[in-house]
């Protein structure tokens, strides 16, 4: 069975500090991977997606970057956090070659002060 794990569960960070959020998929080779962001009380917005190692497409620029260093790993990061980065970050996966059905991780809650 496939499992998706996100870390950390929650972070409180200062404006201007760096950030790294991680996502690991187990039990599925070459999945499509996605990062979504949800402002408090808001809808979900797709940030990035990746169909293979080393390849990442940006959907919305929020002064964030993403990388896929391994087939089963997707990293979201920035060197300087803004207040507007606060929210809930969700990683998701779908089968190769078809966005089809998405399966989400448990999410990471980020509070920027």
């Amino acid at each position: 069975a496939q499992t998706i794990h996100q870390w950390p569960v929650a972070e409180i960070k200062a404006v201007g500090s760096p950030l790294s959020l991680g996502c690991t998929i187990k039990g599925k080779s070459s999945p499509n991977l996605y990062w979504y962001w949800q402002a408090t009380g808001g809808t979900l917005q797709q940030l990035f997606y990746s169909i293979t190692v080393g390849q990442v497409e940006s959907v919305v620029q929020l002064n964030l970057s993403a990388s896929r260093p391994k087939d089963d790993q997707f990293i979201l990061s920035t060197e300087k956090l803004l207040l507007s980065h606060s929210g809930f970050y969700l990683c998701a996966w779908s089968l190769t070659g078809d966005t089809g059905q998405l399966y989400f991780g448990e999410g990471s809650k980020l509070t920027v002060l």
């Binding site: 809808t43 959907v59 809930f88 966005t99 059905q101 998405l102 999410g107």
Partner: protein, 111 residues
């Protein structure tokens, strides 16, 4: 403007009643998914449809197969544990990797 319009934004139901949520799309969509967001914030997948209808227990979803411009989620015999925020999400093009989410429906089921 928004491609996905979800309604209602909030819904209050008595236990045991039926209701429906709806998502209208401003353009033809290839597929639609429905999710429930749990108290932790994670999204639980309820349905994925490329056409037609699917049913699971007291939930049933339909995706307009002709014009592909709307989808519904029906809740039958609502229970307290159905409370939460429901989202639809639709994909316009094949393998675009881009889902557009509705703004969600906050459902509260009360005794």
């Amino acid at each position: 403007g928004d491609q996905v319009e979800q309604s209602p934004s909030a819904l209050s139901l008595h236990e045991g009643t039926d209701s429906a949520l709806r998502c209208n799309f401003t353009t033809t969509m290839r597929s639609v998914q429905w999710f429930r967001q749990n108290s932790r914030g994670s999204l639980i997948s309820l349905f994925y449809l490329a056409s037609g209808t699917k049913e699971n227990g007291r939930l049933k979803s339909a995706f307009d197969s002709k014009e592909r411009r709307y989808s519904t989620l029906h809740i039958r015999d609502a229970q307290l544990e159905d409370s939460g925020t429901y989202f639809c999400a639709a994909e316009a093009g094949a393998n675009t990797g881009k889902l557009t989410f509705g703004h969600g429906t906050i459902l509260r089921v009360h005794p």
